[in-house]
């Protein structure tokens, strides 16, 4: 278990703190605010600066998918003038910086946690080659630490330029020629649009996806998700939490009046194909199941809009139902794309993100390498907490809007854990 850096540094007098919070984004800042309210001694380590991912690790045109009124954190509601606009990625980072400033959150910027290992009654944490001894660790490093590529990516032919969304900033990064965009969630569609607008030919490989109009009956879709209760559904409300956590991000863009869907992209000239199923030499093969993925997404979207229609809206001035048109598909979607055809020269992976937990050297992972937790409490390692993940406790968990509730739950559990009397029961199950 003991990693390289610990051995290199040696056991020389660690510094002590009760709790180490890893990450200075929305979850880390909110955790710090709540821990302070509960009088818990802690430090916040941030490898870059506050809002690092928003400011430095995303594409330039990115805006939040959620409207401004949903940008809230513990002790701070949105108080700007444009409740219905969408922040740019830099505005989101500014929002977090302002929050840290107003709430006087102290963040150790430029402090990268490289290792957390168990120790009697707690943990040893290595950050910037300095060793800390603590009783609890809160992983607030986020759900989107690194690109999640399918195993097939390794089989793609050499000579093909590959780029993952995490490394993309502007279209000029890609070589001339067509682009095969793999993944049809928010990222894939937004980038596909940007590449099409830059004059490139785009083939979009489409698997399971979530279709969602930007607005419905004159209200933003998040207004509906909030009002209808969808956003507030908790892990107790769903039959299969694993499945709920796997639901891809909805096809949306933070732009008024824009339904970022596959019809729009086809209007702009994109060719849609089934998901990538195999690589044969210099040929990429696509599933023949595109029709089913399109149909399923349309059915699920209508089920959601039906639910919106059933939401009590007494006294509200709502426009009549305006359902999006059925998803269009080529009559015989293409099943192969050969590198030798000259139709594309690069592959863009918009296949999602996963947390980067390589620094967490603890027996807390399942057989697929995912950190196991129960509403953010890592049962396998008492004293370890995690948050900021999709559907951690409710459907809003991964949004700025949902941090508040999750952080209160975790901070309260942490208080009880540190108080010790609770400790043995936690180890079993509380």
């Amino acid at each position: 278990m003991t990693g390289l850096s610990l051995r290199r540094i040696g056991p020389a007098s660690p510094r002590r703190v009760d709790v180490v919070v890893v990450g200075g984004g929305q979850a880390g800042l909110a955790t710090s605010v709540m821990l302070r309210e509960l009088g818990i001694d802690h430090v916040v380590f941030e490898r870059g600066e506050i809002g690092q991912r928003w400011r430095h690790e995303r594409w330039r045109s990115l805006r939040l998918l959620t409207p401004n009124w949903m940008c809230r954190l513990p002790n701070q509601e949105y108080d700007g003038a444009d409740r219905d606009d969408f922040m740019t990625k830099d505005e989101a980072a500014d929002f977090l910086c302002r929050y840290a400033h107003r709430q006087q959150v102290e963040v150790a910027s430029g402090t990268e946690v490289t290792e957390v290992v168990p120790e009697r009654d707690g943990f040893l944490v290595v950050a910037n080659e300095q060793v800390w001894r603590c009783r609890a660790v809160v992983d607030a490093s986020g759900a989107f630490g690194r690109a999640k590529l399918p195993p097939l990516a390794a089989e793609f032919p050499a000579g093909l330029h590959q780029l993952a969304a995490a490394d993309y900033r502007v279209p000029d990064q890609l070589p001339d020629g067509g682009v095969l965009v793999v993944g049809a969630s928010a990222t894939g569609l937004q980038i596909a649009e940007e590449l099409l607008t830059s004059g490139r030919r785009v083939t979009l490989a489409v698997g399971e996806h979530v279709r969602m109009p930007r607005s419905y009956r004159g209200r933003d879709v998040y207004w509906w998700l909030n009002r209808s209760g969808v956003l507030h559904e908790t892990i107790e409300d769903v039959d299969d939490i694993e499945r709920a956590r796997r639901v891809p991000s909805p096809q949306l863009i933070g732009r008024h009046g824009c339904n970022m869907d596959l019809n729009r992209l086809q209007d702009l000239g994109a060719e849609i194909v089934g998901r990538v199923v195999a690589v044969r030499g210099r040929t990429i093969q696509f599933s023949g199941g595109l029709a089913n993925h399109l149909k399923s997404a349309d059915l699920k979207m209508h089920r959601m809009l039906d639910r919106f229609d059933q939401t009590p809206a007494d006294g509200l001035d709502l426009a009549p139902p305006d359902r999006p048109q059925a998803s269009r598909s080529p009559t015989a979607p293409r099943l192969e794309l050969s590198l030798d055809s000259g139709e594309f020269s690069s592959v863009f992976w918009a296949t999602g993100y996963r947390p980067d937990h390589r620094w967490l050297r603890l027996p807390a992972f399942d057989r697929k390498g995912r950190l196991t937790h129960d509403a953010g409490v890592v049962r396998a390692v008492p004293g370890l907490y995690t948050l900021g993940h999709t559907f951690l406790r409710s459907r809003k968990s991964s949004f700025l809007y949902g941090v508040d509730e999750d952080v209160r739950h975790i901070a309260a559990h942490l208080r009880r854990y540190l108080d010790g009397a609770f400790r043995e029961r936690v180890a079993a199950m509380d």
């Binding site: 023949g288 595109l290 029709a291």
Partner: protein, 190 residues
């Protein structure tokens, strides 16, 4: 069926009328519409996971055609799947289709190449992680992770010639193509 030449040895009889096949090949070359076939099947749910499929008519050679008789196929799942086991599983039927197609191809190619067959036996195994169909792990595919076909062939030919037969049968097999390459599937509700 790769060569247009006549069978090399007229004494060889695998029960395949290669002459007729070659004549058809020649005729169809100038009548592409007649080469368009549509195969059909119907499937009725019986109970539980038990279904009965039937094949009778198909279209080709520019018109409606019929099998000599209607064929039926029972499909079900074994008792360890809490089913009643009235027939092979659908995935076993897929393997049956693959084996039948490759074997028919071997007989035809052998006839055309003048190779007398005495026996041909295909043994198939398909591996599957049922985490896929049970929805336990979304990274596991529903279908076979791999299929192995092994042929025991007794024929008046060298091992090399027999291996060439098997290779050629894969090259011209419809089911081998269907399984190894993607194809569009459209499912609708009437």
């Amino acid at each position: 069926m790769q060569t247009q030449s006549e069978p090399k040895q007229s004494t060889v009889d695998n029960g395949v009328n290669v002459g007729a096949l070659l004549a058809a090949r020649e005729a169809l070359a100038s009548a592409p519409e007649a080469a368009q076939f549509t195969w059909r099947a119907t499937c009725d749910w019986v109970n539980g996971t038990h279904c009965t499929s039937r094949v009778k008519s198909f279209a080709g050679l520019g018109g409606e055609q019929n099998h000599r008789t209607e064929f039926t196929f029972e499909a079900d799942h074994p008792e360890i799947f809490a089913s009643e086991d009235h027939g092979a599983t659908p995935v076993e039927l897929v393997m049956v289709g693959l084996a039948s197609c490759l074997t028919a191809g071997i007989a035809s190619v052998a006839q055309n190449r003048g190779i007398q067959l005495h026996s041909v036996k295909a043994t198939l195994e398909g591996d599957m992680d049922i985490y896929g169909i049970l929805g336990i792990d979304s990274d596991v595919r529903n279908g076979f992770s791999g299929i192995r076909v092994s042929f025991d062939i007794d024929a008046d030919a060298s091992r090399e010639d027999i291996e060439a037969l098997v290779a050629q049968s894969q090259k011209r097999s419809a089911v081998y193509d269907i399984i190894t390459n993607p194809g569009n599937v459209t499912v609708t509700v009437r």
